[in-house]
Amino acid sequence: MKRRTFLSAVGSGLVTAAGTALPKPALAAGSTEPIKLGLLFSQSGTMANNESLLKDTALMTIDQVNAKGGVLGRQVQGVVVDPASDWPMYAQLSKQLIQRDKCAALFGCWTSVSRKSVLPVVEANDSLLFYPLHFEGEEQSKNVVYLNSPPSSSVLPAIDYLMGDQGGNAKRFYMIGSDYVWPRTINKMLKGYFKTKNIPDSALRERYVPFGQSNFQTIVREIKDFAAQPGGQAIVVMTVVGDSIPAMFKEAVNQGIRATDIPILGLDVVDSDLEGLDTKPLVGHLSCWCYFQNVDTPQNTQFKSDWKNYVTAHGLKHRPDMVIDPMVSTNLGINLWAQAVTKAKSTGTDAVRKALAGQSMVDPAGYTVKMDPSSQYLWRGDMIGSINAKQGFDILWKSKDIVKPVPYSPFIGKA
């Protein structure tokens, strides 16, 4: 087989590394050596504090799977690497995980940019990347499993709510985001959506700040200005990420903005961003995810206590009493993968992909999530959370049932 690879490669130059690298785990099925899962989460650099949460969640879940006897009678082993928040390194290490470590599948990435740098690698090697974050959508690869909602199924309901009576009939929208693909795409979609609601462009404003921007003086002043214009209630759709979130909130509070005057819908705000902030003046600002840790279900109580025990048992730096949506997504991802492998009786990409279609389970948010057979997106519930005085979110609104994921939003004019 080596020789054939050699010839064909020389002949056409079109043989992928898959030829040599991937069949291994597929063939090895039934043997007793552990099945490897690549965990591609940064433990250093700007993304470290977020992604290391997911790394440990993944390891915890793998332990749980193994505790239940592993899959196909084999133990599962997580191979941890550190891309150090350096986007090209993600591509680099994903290659290493697939080709050198022969991982059956990858779990990883937080930012879209990291996913996009891994994408060509998993496609070239025909492997699977399980991606636990909500993101801009507009993408569908047979080599990526999307565990969180695309905007059209998570963001739009929240917008609708704010435009309704309960939300205060928002008529004007100030969109402030970090300058990269996720906010840009979200806002493009929103603009398309607002058109259908006959909201004039004069009632919209779009601003972007660089990553890690911490000075929001000018922006907040502009927001106050914007809100003072006639034409109805103004709200802020905030898609800034990371360091910028607390900075933006602080400045807004300092300049006297309250949710009752100008509500802020922070699409990427999770409990961890509120750590250390005095949230009393922030009460009422909103966020929307598929899961908030205050949701009251037995599954959630279970998951939260599992996490608490795991953190304390392994003496991890994380807060034991804080669980955020991406962690839940990671957990779901690994479990669904395990189910799929068991069903397929193989770890080969194709088999797993087939088996994955239609897999379902009950998630901590209380919904029965299920994998969309066509798009490889996960059907999940949707929630709107309202910041409370206790640095957390109260659940303001829940979708009745799981929402159909729409990868390609109809509101984004295709170029």
């Binding site: 130059g13 690298a21 090209p88 801009e136 300058d179 693909v181 990553f211």
Partner: protein, 371 residues
């Protein structure tokens, strides 16, 4: 380099002496051997054997070669003309981005899918300027010219107004920083923070293809060899000596009737072009280009590679780059926590204790032995 054949007769052969004299030529066949070995190591040698190299490893070597090229470029201006540029990331970046534009063009030609950043910018297609970059050879040519032009303009103005030493370093760093910030803006139209990715083919070959990847790695080695030979020739011509003279006492050179800023400009532009070539080779191998490749961090790091290897010795620069990056790739996957400390420690020791780096020290020892 300063010892000449006739004295070689009365050498007493020490290792350092041998290395310092012969490796400067010897590195050429070594690199060529590596280049020749790569495809062999992948295809012919069975996976079981220790000599076999995974595509991953080969790809790594390819990238490291690009860094070595980058270090070589910096050593030319720093080691010889005495210009410590903290802005070579700019030229690296220019090369990388222009290459990326070409790759996107050819990807579009194949798949007919526009990259997402073009889509959400809503321009509905590539800027017309990009059409020029639809062929590899043309792209390479334009990149060389363009880089030389940019470097030329900056160099001319700066050297003219006699900005040098510390000030020049700081200015170049500021410019690098500025460029990075610019590239982060999506409205600039180069993909912002995500940069550009999703390349499918280069010059008709599938970019992820084994032989393409190996080919690129080999190509990097070859370019490195060629660049090394060229730069070494220049360094040993009396133009090179003039550069050294400028480095050590620019004013004096003026009183000898030299237009020192012209001398510097020549070295500067050449170096910039080499850096750009490094970028062009680097991007298709990592499969993504984004603003971090013009981060001030990287640009300083290049200087560190050179310093560690020993500046003004070309081969030292190459050795330094290979050493540091090899270690980096190895360690940052093994024990990421420790890597920065090691790098810092080594740099400090070298800078404080052995001013002229590993190779420089070796050389000195070598000449000591010959005296």
């Amino acid at each position: 380099m300063t010892t000449l054949p006739e004295t070689a007769a009365r050498r007493n052969w020490t290792l350092s002496a041998f290395l310092s004299k012969w490796m400067e030529i010897g590195i050429v066949p070594v690199l060529i051997l590596v280049a020749a070995y790569l495809p062999f190591a992948y295809f012919a040698i069975p996976e079981a054997s220790a000599l076999h190299m995974s595509l991953f490893g080969i790809n790594l070597i390819g990238q490291i070669m690009c860094f070595a090229l980058l270090a070589l470029a910096l050593d030319l201006v720093w080691g010889y003309a005495g210009i410590l540029s903290l802005g070579h990331g700019i030229f690296f970046g220019i090369g990388g981005y222009l290459m990326a534009i070409y790759l996107l063009n050819s990807a579009y030609a194949e798949t007919n899918v526009l990259p997402d950043f073009i889509q959400y910018m809503g321009t509905g297609g590539f800027p017309t300027v990009w059409k020029i970059f639809s062929r590899l050879d043309v792209t390479v040519l334009i990149t060389i010219v363009f880089t030389a032009l940019v470097a030329g303009v900056f160099g001319f103005v700066t050297f003219r107004s006699r900005i040098n030493g510390v000030y020049l370093s700081i200015i170049t760093q500021a410019l690098t920083y500025a460029l990075m910030l610019l590239l982060f803006i999506n409205d600039v139209g180069l993909g912002g923070n995500n940069g550009m990715t999703g390349f499918t083919n280069i010059a008709g070959l599938r970019i992820a293809g084994v032989s393409t990847q190996i080919g690129l790695a080999v190509c990097s080695c070859v370019v490195l060899v060629v660049a090394y030979v060229g730069v070494r020739y220049l360094a040993h011509s009396s133009l090179g000596r003039a550069l050294i003279a400028v480095r050590d006492d620019e004013a004096r050179m003026r009183f000898l009737g030299y237009r020192t800023h012209t001398l510097k400009l020549i070295a500067w532009c050449l170096s910039a072009v080499i850096a750009a070539l490094a970028g062009m080779l680097y991007v298709p191998q990592v499969g993504i280009v984004n603003p971090t490749i013009v981060s001030p961090q990287l640009s300083v790091e290049i200087a560190v590679w050179v310093a560690i290897g020993g500046r003004g010795t070309l081969i030292g620069a190459i050795a330094g780059a290979i050493l540091v990056n090899g270690l980096k790739f190895w360690l940052s996957s093994q024990l990421p926590e420790v890597w920065p400390f090691i790098l810092a420690g080594v740099t400090l020791v070298i800078v404080v204790a052995f001013g002229n780096g590993v190779w420089g020290t070796l050389k000195a020892a070598g000449e000591e032995a010959n005296r």
